[in-house]
């Protein structure tokens, strides 16, 4: 009988797998190396690995599969997306390069040396297409199909395999874009098509275009990946229809649907970590948490204030503007695989390039020729070469020492140890700047926050960065290396169904509104069935996006779920006025608001994280071994006790310096710091000054 949920997080370096038995809450975990060339293979091998290690999990018992991936993000950050072209309305070449004519606030605004970031398609890959839609959706000029064909052939001959289409007013009438999509498929069947009227059907051409361009840029990479993954899941005999991918907005989406919306997966991986942070914060009563998720290639930071994350509808992915709603996350190009090198100015730099999973850090012995953060961690004694991922992954400390000596120490005239500490110092400083900016943006004080250190590398460096920026406490969860995978098991399946209907609330008939709501709800229930949910069990909420007649931005107001009568409009108005006053400080109570969108929010709830309590453990646990470890501001290596995390219980206390090892991560407790295991197995480290 179905009894397991599986969450898989594909990082740049490792793929983490967690299985949870629905009835008991029992958690089983495993980890396999990522395969960047085909990340889906790692998903299959991870699943197999899980079922081999734990034969109690049978493929037919898996009732729910959710995964998060950095496939799209990495393509954007590393500039490894598709060679993409752009089709735009004739005469409007400047829109994309112009980037809204905007310039960032702050110092950049008056910096005469400021450089505007470049887009993902140069002018030579941008082609104009005849045809024009008016503001009301009326066709002013028919689509010039011949100009589409000519442009597509040119792009095809240039070797472009993904095409973005963004025409003016396509959100009001998508026929020209739709037809263009058909022509592209005829002329260049191999190309992926991103239509702005599908990607982000909202007014304001630049943000829609930029989002569509990102969609086109990462689309082929994501599509290949999702197709592969569907095949792999069939290969391993998974039967459930509940196959999900994490979206940037913190909700899940079925993978078949996701192929159409690659832009919504740009924060898929990190979003799961944030959802995990929210759940853990509630469990242990810690409302203010900054998540510090250090993976192989990147570090993701999100500030949770009063148990909540921020959502943005105008974000940036590696300098590219994106309008897709997403969790506010700061991504830094700094992780375990980050390459240290000497810059043109002769100074030591950390990243942003990463050695990834293949060849990976030099110490993996897969031919890596660059000094990475992981190599430095090995040299300094933070990581155990004999117990890396439970000893299943062979590490060659000699290679780490060699590469740092050759690449960094010798050219800079440093000792090996100085060079390794230098790498950590430079990379940690980059992380600290990112953390500080995340607090500054929200205007919050790091001194009242706890740092939730996870990802394989978070607990290695977390105590150090927390100390440097004045965060008093670090939390290391029970399975830090698989926190994103855990987050996936706590995420609701969330969809918005939206119909634009611009009209005065006073004039639009309640019959029409009720009809639209009913249609949207019908769609929500239909998709819920497709996703394997009982349509009666999903939660639906009717909403309006409203604004005063001359405004340009809406506020979303919940509406009763029963059909509306004319007499109900007064309450909608009052609710909107109240919300407007709350948000903007005033309200125009004399004005009747306009309806812009009619929405239905659908949520299929997934049971929340319920970690079992840990039995009481030894107050003063015994170290399993000792090894020399080098800490900043100490002279030479210190003989340091090493602890096995599985031997710790509720109430166990460890004084630093110490290293706590476990399958999926390693926690470094600095000299003078105190670590204590709380009731649910989280290690709480008091940082001190």
């Amino acid at each position: 009988m179905p009894g397991w949920r599986v969450g898989i997080d594909i990082g740049g370096t490792f793929t983490d797998v967690v299985g949870m038995e629905i009835e008991t809450g029992k958690i089983l975990v495993t980890k396999v190396p990522s395969i960047p060339a085909d990340p889906s293979r790692a998903v299959a091998s991870g699943l197999q690995n899980l079922m081999e290690n734990y034969p109690e999990i049978k493929p037919e018992d898996i009732d729910f599969f959710a995964h998060g991936t950095t496939v799209a993000t990495n393509a954007a950050i590393e500039g490894k997306g598709a060679k993409a072209g752009l089709l735009i309305t004739k005469g409007f070449r400047a829109i994309y390069d112009m980037r809204g004519g905007n310039r960032p606030m702050g110092p950049d605004l008056i910096d005469t040396h400021w450089n505007k970031p470049t887009g993902l398609a140069p002018q030579k890959m941008t082609h104009e297409v005849g045809g024009r839609i008016g503001f009301d959706g009326a066709e002013l000029e028919p689509l010039d199909e011949e100009s589409v064909r000519v442009a597509v052939r040119k792009l095809r001959d240039e070797g472009c395999n993904s095409i973005a289409v963004c025409f003016l007013f396509s959100f009001a009438n998508q026929s020209h874009e739709k037809r263009t999509g058909e022509i592209i498929r005829e002329e260049h069947p191999g190309a992926r098509v991103s239509l702005s009227s599908v990607v982000l059907p909202l007014i304001r051409e630049y943000l829609r275009l930029s989002t569509t361009m990102l969609d086109a840029y990462v689309g082929p990479v994501v599509a290949t990946y999702l197709k592969n993954i569907a095949g792999r899941l069939r290969d391993v005999q998974l039967k459930t229809k509940k196959l999900f991918i994490m979206q940037s907005n913190g909700g899940l989406m079925q993978i078949d649907i996701a192929t159409e919306y690659p832009n919504q997966t740009l924060l898929s991986g990190p979003a799961a970590g944030v959802v995990f942070g929210v759940g853990l914060g509630k469990l242990i009563g810690e409302p203010d948490i900054v998540t510090f998720d250090v993976g192989g290639t990147s570090t993701d930071i999100s500030v949770l204030h009063k148990h909540a994350y921020e959502e943005t509808r105008h974000g940036k992915i590696h300098d590219q503007d994106i309008g897709t709603p997403m969790i506010q996350i700061r991504a830094l190009g700094a992780g375990g695989g980050t390459i240290a090198h000497i810059g043109p100015d002769g100074l030591l730099k950390g990243g942003p390039q990463s050695a990834g999973a293949d060849p990976g850090p030099a110490c993996y012995g897969h031919g890596g020729k660059n000094a990475t953060v992981t190599d430095a961690n090995i040299v300094l004694g933070y990581l155990n070469p004999n117990n890396f991922i439970g000893g299943r992954f062979k590490i060659e400390p000699k290679l780490a020492a060699e590469v740092i000596t050759e690449r960094i120490a010798k050219p800079l005239g440093l000792t090996l140890q100085q060079a390794a500490l230098g790498i950590i110092r430079v990379v940690c400083t980059n992380m600290e700047v990112g953390l500080r900016l995340s607090f500054v943006e929200r205007g919050l004080d790091p001194r009242v926050f706890a740092l939730l250190a996870f990802g394989g590398g978070g607990p290695v460096l977390g105590t150090r960065v927390a100390k440097d920026i004045g965060i008093p406490r670090v939390i290391v969860p029970p399975y830090p290396g698989i926190s994103c995978a855990m987050g996936l098991l706590q995420t609701d399946v969330k969809h918005y169904y939206l119909q634009t209907r611009m009209a005065s609330l006073g004039k639009v008939s309640t019959d029409e509104l009720n009809k639209i709501f009913a249609q949207l709800e019908e769609r929500a229930r239909r998709e819920a069935v497709q996703e394997g949910f009982d349509p009666k069990a999903i939660k639906l909420q009717r909403q309006f996006d409203l604004r005063y007649p001359f405004q340009g931005y809406e506020l979303t107001v919940d509406c009763q779920n029963e059909d509306l009568r004319d007499s109900d409009k007064a309450k909608i108005r009052t609710d909107f006025d109240t919300l407007h006053k709350e948000v903007y400080g005033t309200a125009a109570t004399g004005e009747i608001p306009d309806v812009v969108n009619i929405r239905v929010m659908s949520i299929a709830e997934v049971a929340k994280l319920d970690l079992p309590e840990l039995p009481r453990g030894d107050k003063n646990p015994k170290p399993v071994s000792r090894r020399p470890v080098l800490f900043e501001d100490r002279d030479g290596y210190i003989d340091t006790p090493i602890y096995d995390r599985t031997q710790l219980g509720f109430g166990s206390v460890i004084m630093g310096p110490a290293v706590i090892e476990q399958l999926d991560s390693t926690t470094v407790v600095l000299p003078g710091q105190k670590a204590e295991v709380e009731r649910y197995g989280n290690i709480i480290i008091e940082i001190g000054k």
Binding site: K90, G91, F92, R93, A94, I95, D97, M98, R99, G100, G101, N102, R103, M105, P107, D108, L109, I110, D111, T112, H113, W114, N115, K116, P122, Q123, K124, G134, F135, L140, L168, F169, F171, I203, R204, E205, Y206, F439, V440, E441, R442, G443, D445, R447, G470, Y548, P549, F550, Q551, G552, Y553, H580, V583, Y584, G585, T586, A588
Partner: protein, 579 residues
Amino acid sequence: METKAPAKLDPITLEIIIARLQEMVTTMEHLLFHSGYSTILRESHDGSCTLCTTEGYCIEGSGGPLHLFSYYYTIKSVLDAYPLETMKDGDCFISNDPYLGGTLHVPDVVIITPIFVNGEIIAFSGSHAHKPDMGGLVPGSSGAAAREIFHEGLVLPAVKFWTKDGVIPEVLEIIKHNCRIPEIIEGDLRAQVGCTLVGCDQVRALCAEYGTETIKAAMPEIMALSEKRLRDGIEAWPDGVSEAEAMVDHDGVDLDKPLRLHVKITKTGRDIEIDFSQTNDQVKGPTNLRPQVSHIAAVMAIVSTLDPTIPFNDGLRRPVKFINPEGKITNPRWPAPVNSYFGLANVLYSTCIRALAKFNPARAVASPGIGLGAIAVGYDQNRTGRKAVQYELFVSGQGAKSEHDGSSGTVGFLNVTPNTPIEVIETEFPIRVKRYEWIKDSAGAGKHRGGMGNRKEYELLGDATTTLRLGHQFKYGGWGVFEGKDPQTVRAFFNPGTNRERPLKPLETVRMEPGDSFLVEMPGGGGYGSPRQRVAEEVLEDVLNGYVSIEAAESDYGVAIDPTTMKLDPTRTAALRKA
């Protein structure tokens, strides 16, 4: 006199307070743009928010510094009319007077709100927003025909606009009765008041957290920090004198009489003196700059040449002394008109940067495409049958730099004014945008090329009165540096490509009918270094991208490109470059 920092607060607390104040003004600004009614506010973001001391000094502000330093003068005028002890919690004051107060021209309306904490006023929150219309001779209130400030719309001295019971209806009615689009103006003003009230709540919360005395102590320290950084930087420059000048076409009245902007900068120790006394006398037309504009153009030129990361606040003004006699274009006597200040301020800023290059040659840059400006299209009827004003701001190309080409398509001067989306323009107003594209060869050639100029064309669908407000640089444009070439100048045409085509003049107001069209060409930026030194592959890339023509590649850059294969011709290129 250099201010000594009292330095009472520890560096972490002060940093946090600064970050919190920044967050507050950013939040206020977000609220202003998202709740405002006019497109110039909600799409072009021509507005700002601030927190100021009880004397009116700006501590933190959002948006461009052009607005931020003028709050001081407005708050002073509020205090002259309403001493602190007469103010009550919930009061808001309004003014748009460029002479008694500090606005840049009449359409800029400022709201000032005292922040009460436990019965005491500890600061002011403020908002500044450019209105699409405040009455006057033409829609948008800014036309060449203005000879006195009375022609530029309704001028409000500092008066009370709001109390704890809400708006004062008599004042609102006077305003609404004097402008062309009363509902829009009312909505924008409501957004302005709302965000200042939210700012008050946030400051009160900050005081509850850190103590009112701490917050009060932080304000002078924040200004002293910026002042010190500026003075430290100035000190590192060599002492000396530098001068620069630039010409502006005319004042909109005497069309054959160019205007001269001149600045003499004297640097001594930790101080700087800016002397405008050789600048043109004030003019009849509306191209005069109030001192709050001319001074800030100079101060920000110093900051951007020295170190743009120094936080903006009123501490930055203290190291700078001005010689700016009354009666100059940079300090006109009342009631001279000032509506077309923006283009001139832009040229003045670039002129100051040109002079400052002598003190800091490493930061020398070519000028941006100067001649920035706006259009104001006043419609007899918008889509819903009411009067409407489309007020749109333009962007140009930036000057090339020591390491890079100039950026294309932004404002280089002290303000953030994103494009109004074409889809918003056409939805709101009876007009169609025909094209928005780059202009080939509009940038100054150079080892590093200037940013590109752009072309925007419109077709009217309804009757309208359109005023161009383009910084007069049809004749005298931007400049290159170190052998870099000058960029194209501004051009504009009425009914282009038809037998009724004619060039438009800066500041011209034209009555237009459905079917009429007009075209504006904004200039690119100047080039840096000799174009012959530009890497040939970069020139080819520019040609492939449509930024540079094959002809200009050859004549300006000495790079030959085969027009059939679109590949470099290395032999001919070598010959051209040797010549």
